[in-house]
Symmetry: C2
Subunit: 87 residues, 2 copies
Amino acid sequence: MLDVLRVSSKSTPNAVAGAIAGVIREQGKVEVQAVGAAASNQAIKAVAIARGYLAPAGLDLVCVPAFVNIQIEEEVRTAIRLIVEPR
Amino acid sequence: MLDVLRVSSKSTPNAVAGAIAGVIREQGKVEVQAVGAAASNQAIKAVAIARGYLAPAGLDLVCVPAFVNIQIEEEVRTAIRLIVEPR
């Protein structure tokens, strides 16, 4: 099963980028999920940083954004999910 | 030269998605630039929507995020640039 990294507005992009790079190295692919504009912004920054972490290994990361409905405390919210994988 | 679509926090993701799809159809590739969290969020939503617009034509859009320094009224700001192209 594919790991899902949940990113919040308080996540630091560098830390998320490290987690993205780790999962990509182990599993080849990762999903990053964010709810809200601030969280989405941290997620996309993290992918940009992770590209730099993995470029020396010859990995050219791309991301595929999609909407996903998730339930938070009985409320349905729309999250952004970024599927991140080498090109 | 590659077209750059500038997205603001007030851009509507559907309209930006239409512009992305149009440039991809004509030029095969487009760059989407956003300054600030709200604008980045609109940009990434627009890419997710544009994927749906172009999927029927067999195009599987991916995006490559990068940081870029831009000058706005004599101040240097860091923007997020998404290079959007078919896989």
